[in-house]
């Protein structure tokens, strides 16, 4: 399958990026070269790994690797984590929380699927601007709202 092949490739690429970020982080630590700048740069990538995963997965799954899917994935990711934590105060958005990983994976898969399903949507003329690819972030955002609702009520 072409899509799964692309998914493997993009996953390897993201792995390389995370590894590079981790190396920068480590060599910047006080025990090594002690360069706070490098720690900060590495942390910038690592602490947002789930959002990066979401975008990467969505792009890999989307027809012709279109970037609009990545945009939708980021929207879905934020909707899921912020929506869920607004419902359930015990949901932590700390960067070690497993929720982020789950939300990132779901958001990526959802946005990729929604892109392929809706990128050709034709809307009535007066809403025509929001048809096609621009419809994808909107419809994905609303779908993510339901996932936020489910996660918010079930997460422990």
């Amino acid at each position: 399958m072409q899509a799964s092949g692309t998914l493997v490739k993009v996953s390897i690429l993201m792995g390389v990026v995370f590894l590079a970020a981790a190396i920068l982080y480590w060599i910047g630590l006080p025990g090594a070269l002690d360069v706070p700048f490098l720690v900060s740069v590495g942390y910038g990538v690592l602490s947002n790994y789930a959002a990066i995963l979401a975008v990467g997965i969505a792009v890999a799954l989307a027809h012709e690797s279109q970037g609009a899917a990545g945009l939708a994935a980021f929207v879905a990711y934020e909707v899921i984590i912020q929506g869920a934590s607004a419902i359930n105060k015990s949901v932590s958005l700390d960067d070690k929380s497993a929720l982020l990983l789950v939300a990132g994976l779901i958001a990526g898969a959802l946005a990729g699927y929604m892109y392929n399903r809706f990128y050709r949507t034709k809307l009535p003329t007066w809403l025509g601007f929001f048809g096609g690819r621009r419809f994808v972030p909107i419809v994905t955002g609303f779908a993510a709202l339901f996932i936020a609702l489910v996660i918010g009520h079930t997460w422990h």
Binding site: G67, A68, F74, T121, G128, G131, G132, R133, R134, A144
Partner: protein
């Protein structure tokens, strides 16, 4: 040069497409509407992360074929740059400006690297993967000058903001004027982006639009004046065009212009009306730009503050009604502009005999063939037109994937490719709101008459190779069809 600026203008378009979802969630979730707190929280989250969405969207918009890995690279790069710059100076906040710069340079570098042949990297996606890694590494190095230089950039833009604030209503009026004057070149997004997303600060939010959504009572001065123009003024112009059309053509014109006016009123998308007279009567378009400036000036002066997430239509007006300052004043002002537009357009068209839709001498009487209004006819493919029930027009038609295109004997895409001088003549083609942005080998091969027959309402030739064809809101889908046939 103009071609490059155009690319930037187009790239700024894509992230704007996520604003409506943020606005809808935020406003529908708030106590004065549906009162669903988690929905408002989700909308608020999108708003807070808009700079990141700008970084992704602009890189994607700038990348060849809108490739998604450019967006991934830009996201990684923006994280590196913002954390790196913060490590150097804690007061550094890259925000929108940093996101726009990041989106542009990463998109540019992505194009540069990804078009090369790279051996040995196939396991992770070849040259495009190399581009992502390269962008990440360059970002680490770039974070150093960013960190040391950003305070000066911030200062400069703060100064610009202070200066703009001091010009008050005059500044708002000039902004309105140039916002419209730049439309034919597609460059209005560049100044919009500064005003809406960079200008001013309120609780960590920047820009007139985001500050307005975040509840800044002083924000909205650069948006309020658009409501009278888009909801009332341009529909007034549309009415004038309907009433000045030849009696036998009036019904068809009323269908097209009526739907364009309805679009403007409801959503604030005004290009279908504006393009109907922009090329025929540049004088009227300049007048329209001046009136827009006047509206922004007047609304600012009267202390009216109102905003939108997409454009100044009824939907945004209703969603934001409780957050506007003196928002109800926009209605009487709008009625005044409706009258002004209607009267000036009616008499200008009569006096100078401007060939607006339905006034053309060469009409063959068969209806929609010689005068054009974008989506009305371009919206339905020439061959499939008979099959499409007109009454179904106002319901969203969901096309399942992998079924479109193939069955049609001669698709709209093929017809357009032919009219553009064949697949060999088209070097680059992309969509932007209502236009095809083209780079062609030979400009002379563009068949303007044929394009108009297909439903294009205008052809803009920028230089020897760059052109735009105005086709209406179907531009995006049409480009897909064209690319499939090439």
């Amino acid at each position: 040069m103009l071609g490059q600026l155009q690319r930037i203008g187009k790239a700024l378009m894509l992230p704007i497409a996520v604003l409506p979802i943020a606005g809808l969630l935020l406003r529908l979730g708030q106590p004065d509407t549906l009162n669903i707190p988690f929905m408002a929280a989700a909308g608020n989250a999108i708003l807070n992360y808009l700079p990141l969405l700008f970084a992704i969207g602009i890189a994607v918009g700038f990348a060849k074929d809108n490739h998604g890995l450019a967006g991934l690279a830009s996201l990684v790069s923006f994280e590196i740059l913002s954390y790196g710059a913060k490590a150097i100076d804690a007061s550094n906040d890259l925000s929108y400006l940093g996101a726009i710069v990041t989106g542009l340079w990463t998109g540019w570098l992505f194009n540069r690297v990804s078009r090369r042949e790279v051996k040995g990297l196939d396991f992770m996606g070849g040259s495009k993967a190399l581009a992502v890694i390269l962008i990440a590494l360059v970002s680490v190095v770039l974070a150093i000058p960013f960190g040391y230089g950003w305070p000066y950039v911030q200062d400069a833009f703060n100064q610009l903001g202070v200066w703009l604030g001091e010009t008050g209503a005059i500044g708002a009026g000039l902004y309105g004027l140039f916002n419209r004057l730049l439309i034919p070149f597609g460059l209005h997004h560049v100044i919009n982006t500064y005003i809406w997303f960079v200008y001013g600060t309120y609780h960590g939010q920047h820009g007139d639009l985001t500050r307005f959504l975040a509840g800044d009572p002083t924000a909205g001065g650069y948006m309020a004046g658009f409501f009278p123009i888009m909801m009332f003024g341009l529909p007034g112009a549309a009415l004038a065009m309907i009433l000045t059309a030849k009696p036998e053509r009036r019904k068809v014109v009323a269908g097209v212009m009526g739907s364009a006016a309805f679009t403007a009123l409801l959503t604030g998308v005004t290009e279908p009306i504006e393009f109907a007279f922009m090329f025929l009567a540049p004088f009227l378009f300049v007048l329209h730009a001046v009136l827009t400036g006047v509206s922004l000036f007047v609304c600012y002066l009267l202390g009216i503050r109102d905003g939108f997430t997409f454009s100044a239509g009824l939907i945004d007006y209703v969603l934001n009604r409780n957050h506007a300052t003196h928002g109800y004043w926009l209605i009487p002002i709008g009625v005044a502009f409706f009258i002004i537009y209607f009267v000036t357009f009616y008499f200008a068209i009569k006096i100078w005999d401007i060939k607006t839709p339905g006034r053309d001498e060469g009409d063959d009487g068969s209806g929609a063939s010689s005068f054009i209004l974008d989506e009305y006819q371009a919206g339905r493919p020439a061959v499939a037109a008979a099959a499409a029930a007109p009454s179904a027009g106002y319901r969203a038609a969901f096309t399942p994937p992998n079924t479109g295109g193939e069955e049609r004997p001669r698709s709209q895409g093929q017809a357009y490719v032919q009219a553009l001088g064949g697949a060999d003549n088209i070097l680059e083609i992309e969509a932007c709101t209502t236009r095809l942005r083209l780079k062609v080998k030979e400009m002379t091969k563009l068949d303007e008459a044929e394009l108009k027959k297909l439903g294009a309402s205008g052809v803009i030739r920028l230089d020897a190779h760059n052109a735009q064809v105005v086709v209406g809101t179907i531009a995006d889908l049409l480009v897909d069809e064209i690319k499939e046939t090439m």
